[in-house]
Subunit: 329 residues, 2 copies
DNA sequence: TTGAAAGCGTTACCAC
DNA sequence: GTGGTAACGCTTTCAA
């Protein structure tokens, strides 16, 4: 079923069919309707390959998902964003490509690009100075990076992130409750979420007598790391994590140490997920609607109208409370 | 950078370049080496689009992931399989496409196929009588379905699933412990995992005085459903779920009812995940190495050597024990 | 308003 | 062994 078949069936030339289907002017309304009907009856669809050989418009975007064990929310976030894009991208195909880590992801991106598989890329889970962005810049591939704005410029031409300052809100909220000793437990300290949280915490505590400590531990080691935190002489009164898994680990570690959450220690999950609502007490978390980031990404890809990014917000549930009163001696 | 550039640079015709690069015979070894070197120097890569216009070999396979809220393990399982495939597929591109549900997935598949985006498809999260398989059969697209073998034939020509009988092992294990009243709490009763677990439980309890009940509840409603189970006069002594999220919900419901796991009730998660190891007690679960399914899938796609599917196994942790002794009156 | 024809980058057939 | 060259299905320019 090719354009030639349609042209023959409609009794016109292939040029007319092409015009009619791409909404170009130069075809009579009658002919256009006729052609459209014939095409529909034959249920013809233009070959993506043939089309992309002639045109250099954006016809297919590649979204790179990281499969690394580092950030567990990563995969679901990428898929969530992909689902959102699917609804927004019209006539543009979306392919999710899975990479093990940013480095091999960069190689994959270069390959995809040089084989003309995609005309643009979306890269989430950005590291500072991410190799994928560097490679894309080198070969000239359009890239939209999903990352909080990084002061030193990430190298990406186009960057999309949530509006508002949920991460600062986390800090402010904890500070307002009275917390002054906060630990950020992150699976990866230079992940996007960790960086955003860290700077948010620093902003909120600026000018106060307070400490913000970053502890890095893979999600497998998060339990042990949390346990260690709680055995310290001076244990933090609040723990913020960069993902739901790590938060869960903190919850279990606390339970193990007979610390009651939220009275003895507050816990905030840096990423909201179904698990956050399934544990008891339910986890206070930062909800990031990756799905709704899609319009802004489409705009950045120049395949959609300008769109404001959605807002990430702090969802206060049951794991946060004022710190325990200091023991008076 | 096209084949023409390479030909010019190497001082040969494009036909020779094509032959040399595709390992065809009919080129002298000297020429082949020379061409290969030039191509490498120019770092030329064949255009996937141009290539696929001429050849109808499998060059790109589409893996459909379901984004539905129904099964949460789904997304990560699909991504895990994708990661495995990426390592196994050589010279064949892999694109994950996200669909909201099997029905819209079927539409997407038809579209992808008719636009010649992919030459074969991999479909996980199969339902009985899945629309995606029906559509693929209708249009003639090669499909590999990831599903336990279904007696009435799923309609898919090619089917891949785990070896062994982990699901039966679940049933046998519970029966051996003494359980006779088992509930299968599933987010979706006709999901692949649920079906496998159900038939496994039935097989294990065959010929015994035992009841196996299936309760369907979305993961959001799983908590409520589990709570209901536990208030019943005759509550089950073991609950098997089709996913880690549901299992987590059951654990919380039990805790809420002051039922101690595993002494008062046993819980088995039908899918293993990081969360299963993070809760206390750790969840007994069925571990399915989706990643290792890749070679078998590649074989089914006829892009790799025959491969035996990996084994799913029951990982016994802390949420299973003999049922409580009946109260003697 | 329509049609013929020239590419786009490959592969593969057929001469040389 | 090697070099022309005709497809593949589409878009787009240029004439009619």
């Amino acid at each position: 079923m090719t354009i030639t078949d349609v042209a023959r069936a409609a009794g016109v030339s292939i040029a007319v069919v092409s015009y009619a289907l791409n909404g170009r002017r130069g075809v009579s309304e009658t002919t256009r309707r006729h052609v459209l009907k014939v095409a529909q009856d034959l249920d013809w669809r233009p070959s993506a390959a043939a089309r992309s050989m002639r045109t250099d418009a954006v016809t297919s975007v590649g979204l790179q998902a990281l499969d690394g064990t580092s950030s567990t929310h990563s995969a679901s976030a990428a898929l969530d964003l992909a689902a959102g894009l699917r609804g927004v991208l019209d006539g543009v195909a979306l392919a999710v490509e899975v990479a093990a880590d940013p480095r091999s992801g960069a190689a994959d991106l270069e390959r995809s690009w040089s084989e003309r598989r995609h005309t643009a890329f979306v890269v989430p889970d950005l590291l500072v100075d991410d190799p994928r962005v560097r490679v894309a810049a080198r070969v000239g591939a359009p890239v939209v990076a999903i990352t909080p704005p990084v002061p030193g410029a990430g190298g990406a031409e186009r960057t999309v992130w949530f509006d508002g300052a949920a991460e600062e809100a986390v800090g402010r909220y904890l500070v307002d409750l009275g917390h002054r000793d906060i630990v950020l437990l992150a699976a990866s300290a230079d992940g996007d979420v960790s960086r955003a949280l860290h700077s948010g915490l620093l902003t909120a505590t600026a000018g106060l007598v307070a400490t913000v400590t970053v502890v890095e531990a893979s999600s497998a080691a998060a339990g042990a790391a949390a346990a260690r935190l709680f055995t310290d002489e001076q244990r933090p009164t609040a723990v913020v994590t960069d993902g739901d898994l790590t938060a869960l680990a903190v919850l279990e570690a606390a339970r193990h140490r007979d610390l009651r959450v939220p009275w003895d220690v507050s816990v905030v999950s840096g990423a909201d997920a179904a698990t956050c609502r399934l544990v008891d007490p339910q986890l206070t978390a930062v909800a990031r609607p990756w799905h709704d980031l899609a319009p802004a990404v489409a705009a950045a890809l120049q395949v959609g109208p300008a769109a404001a990014p959605p807002t990430a917000r702090l969802v206060i549930r049951g794991t946060t409370a004022p710190p325990p009163a200091p023991v008076v001696t």
